[in-house]
């Protein structure tokens, strides 16, 4: 028997105290008071830790409540009739048919000429060259003239890129900050999928950044959406589509983008 399980040992020998249940109940009843007191009084790191834990607990609780609620609701997917007319062979299928919201949505959008140039994030904070580039000063010659730059932001580097000769390489895009995939959200469908980035269309800060493939907030990238199975009006499969980056990839370690439909 492990050394520290003395309570269990005692209980095995002598049985539980007579008021065990009562004490447990009271302790549980006091728990909320304790939490509330802690929440008000803890300071510093302890407060932080407590908040983190509470946060996690609450997420779990919400999930459980949601699951419970879903169980209570009668499954309406089976019998509910779809609103739009569908042929008989699609009638009893509960498949997500919302994947179609997109094509009509796209069409509506195309009709609005103005919508053509509007993007979800119209303005972004400028990024200066000082912030973007670190000066590389390794080696005597490079040190003397300081013409080599290391890009300090995440970048997209195409697959067929080969580095130039060290002597001519003016910009270094670190391997650790290169991204190949983006989490792209379809605004109408509300689905997010991870898709490969094809190229960087425009970085609003500086054409040079576009050329270097810098991924910053507000950058327009082209992504491969062949998985979505979209087709043009002429029946061709759409596979490249533009998306705008919505987060700061340098802070988050991932690229989140919104599809421009």
């Amino acid at each position: 028997m492990p050394q520290n399980e003395y309570v269990e040992r005692w209980q095995k020998l002598h049985g539980k105290r007579f008021d065990t249940e009562e004490r447990a109940r009271k302790k549980q009843a006091r728990e909320h008071h304790r939490q509330s007191k802690d929440a008000q009084n803890l300071r510093g790191l302890r407060a932080k830790l407590m908040q983190q834990q509470r946060h996690k607990e609450k997420i779990q609780m919400r999930k459980r409540i949601k699951a419970q609620e879903e169980r209570n609701v009668k499954s309406n997917s089976g019998d509910a009739e779809p609103k739009a007319a569908v042929p008989h062979y699609l009638l009893d299928r509960s498949e997500a048919t919302n994947a179609k919201a997109l094509s009509s949505a796209i069409k509506d959008k195309r009709n609005e000429k103005a919508a053509k140039f509007s993007v979800p994030i119209p303005k972004v904070r400028g990024i200066s060259e000082e912030e973007m580039f670190g000066v590389v000063a390794t080696g005597k010659k490079t040190h003397k003239k300081s013409w080599k730059r290391m890009i300090t932001k995440p970048t997209f580097v195409g697959q067929d890129f080969t580095r130039q000769n060290v002597k001519f390489e003016r910009f270094i895009r670190p391997m650790g900050l290169r991204y190949k995939k983006a989490n792209v959200t379809h605004p109408k469908l509300g689905v997010t999928i991870q898709v490969p980035i094809l190229n960087v269309q425009k970085n609003p800060n500086n054409p040079l950044y576009t050329r270097l493939g810098v991924l910053s907030r507000g950058t327009i990238i082209e992504v491969n959406v062949s998985d979505l199975g979209m087709v043009t009006t002429s029946g061709k499969v759409v596979w490249g589509k533009w998306a705008q980056i919505t987060n700061n990839p340098e802070n988050d370690g991932c690229v989140n983008a919104l599809l421009l439909v």
Binding site: E81, A84, A85, V86, P87, H88, Y89, L90, L91, D92, K100, S103, S104, K107, G229, V231, T233, S234, G235, K236, V237
Partner: protein, 515 residues
């Protein structure tokens, strides 16, 4: 040291390969190969036809083989039939090889067979007429206020078509001019199924409002009120085959979600029989030419009923999930009854019945026996090929789809089965033994329906990806891509005379395609 040439660039390599391929095509058959023995087999029955024949390799082209086979079968000059020849190896994986131009390039040159062997050739008679692939949208007709859910051409000709729509009307269209003929108003909810009677005089529509209605196809007027009886919506309709109908008393079967099938006397508008027994929604009903009714249901079974008294003959169990669709090998003949490709229509009713009966028997007879085959598509990703006449067990299980199979159809010459699945593919199968032939890839969305042309040489498929595609059955390649619909295409039909294809879908416009 000798100078080493640099390896050829990619461009050089592709150019060389192209050149080689071109040269290969020009190559003719070497004339020193002597002759090869050929044994003909009938594709429909698998039986030997004629003795093994020795054919000079240099002359063994498809044209010559056709002539030879016609002679062997004793066909007169005016009744010569074009044939298609295929080679099936005995090996397990046995791919079917189509003899495209001649034996040498298809079999001997690739080393599949040598001149020493006797080559077994399976022949399939082809239609004597040829349907041209539809290639353009002849008309896009607005009119329906909601999505189009079902469509059907008249068996009489390709000039009229009926569509059922979500706006609770069915409309009859004049396809020659691309104009609406009649609007069939009466239903109070979506029209889910439409069916022309085999003689083309009546139209039956089944609706979400649980009723079936009958219309005069010529005048577009309602024939009486709704046929009430079902307690859930109608999923499928089937007319009694023309040659089985009692004179002046055609009947109609309607399948419904309420798990019954009702047989209506069309003239008196009464229920003739109710086929109860299914435990789930009945998805499809087919009326066979031998007096049997086939129904498929969500309860995983297919039931075969006697059309005369409504008794259950057989229950076919094999599927592991709901059965979506049925197709009969004789569907096309039953649908068109006495209307054949010559366009000659018999004068009086008795002649029509005999003509219809003769057409049916001619089409369905294999080895001097009338055989009606059945294929069923299911949500369990498979299909089964049945011969209900002989056995309760399936002839073959058709494996290959990776998602639910929604639609299945026999080719008019009964040589092929085409199946459309939600896995974006259409697959072709041999209708005799259910062997896989090829996959028609090209759609990027679920394929909803497919339809053969009357000569079985072409296939059109409609898909969620807003396109129709016409496929060449023989090569398994796309023959024509028909974009134009703005949204999902729910229904497609190829007119029995092969002139036009009609389609409709979520974009509310009926489109008529022709060559």
């Amino acid at each position: 040291m000798a100078t080493l040439l640099p390896p050829p660039t990619k461009r050089q390599k592709t150019a060389a390969a192209d050149k080689a391929r071109e040269q290969q095509e020009i190559q003719s058959i070497p004339d020193n190969l002597g002759s090869v023995r050929v044994q003909f087999f009938d594709q429909a029955t698998g039986s030997v036809t004629g003795p093994a024949v020795s054919v000079p390799v240099a002359d063994a082209s498809v044209k010559n083989l056709e002539t030879l086979l016609n002679t062997l079968q004793g066909n007169e000059d005016d009744e010569r039939v074009p044939y298609r020849f295929t080679y099936q190896s005995d090996a397990k994986d046995s791919a079917t090889i189509d003899i495209l131009a001649d034996l040498y390039h298809s079999l001997l040159q690739p080393g599949i067979k040598t001149t020493e062997d006797t080559i077994p050739l399976y022949f399939t008679p082809q239609a004597v007429f040829r349907v041209k692939a539809v290639s353009r949208c002849a008309a896009s007709i607005a009119g329906h206020g909601e999505a189009i859910l079902a469509t059907s051409f008249s068996p009489v000709s390709s000039s009229t078509m009926v569509t059922g729509s979500g706006d609770s009307t069915a409309r009859v269209w004049d396809c020659d001019t691309g104009t609406p003929l009649h609007t069939l108003k009466g239903h109070t909810s979506w029209v889910l199924a439409v069916a022309y009677s085999p003689n083309g005089a009546m139209i039956a529509t089944g609706s979400m409002d649980n009723s079936v209605r009958l219309w005069d196809a010529k005048k577009g007027s309602a024939l009486g009120g709704p046929l009430k009886g079902h307690s859930k919506w109608i999923t499928s309709l089937a007319w009694e085959p023309y040659h089985m109908q009692e004179a002046g008393r055609p009947r109609l079967a309607s399948a419904s979600k309420d798990s019954t099938v009702r047989i209506w006397d069309v003239v008196s508008k009464r229920i003739d029989t109710v086929l109860t027994g299914h435990k789930g929604s009945v998805t499809c009903v087919r009326w066979g030419g031998t007096g049997k009714i086939y129904t498929s249901s969500h309860d995983k079974t297919i039931k075969v009923w006697n059309a005369k008294d409504g008794t259950l003959i057989q229950t076919l169990n094999a599927h592991a999930h709901r059965v979506n669709h049925l197709a009969l090998s004789t569907d096309f003949v039953l649908r068109t009854a006495f209307y054949d490709h010559t366009g000659k229509v018999p004068q009086d009713d008795a002649e029509k019945v005999t003509a219809a009966k003769q057409r049916f028997e001619q089409a369905a007879t294999i080895n001097n026996k009338i055989v009606e085959k059945l294929v069923s598509a299911s949500d369990d990703f498979t299909m089964y090929l049945w011969e209900p006449e002989t056995s309760n067990k399936p002839v073959a299980r058709l494996l290959g789809h990776q998602k639910e199979v929604n639609h299945v159809t026999f080719s008019p010459d009964m040589a092929y089965i085409a199946s459309a699945g939600f896995d974006n593919h259409v697959k072709l199968w041999n209708a005799r033994d259910g062997k896989f032939i090829t996959t028609l890839r090209g759609h990027v969305g679920a394929v909803y329906q497919c339809c053969f042309s009357a000569d079985s040489r072409l296939l059109v498929s409609s898909s969620k990806d807003t396109t129709l595609k016409v496929w060449n059955v023989r090569t398994g390649k796309i023959s024509m891509d028909l974009p134009g619909h703005q949204d999902e295409v729910y229904a497609v039909d190829w007119s029995p005379d092969g002139q036009k294809v009609g389609s409709g879908g979520k974009d509310k416009a009926v489109r008529i395609w022709r060559n």
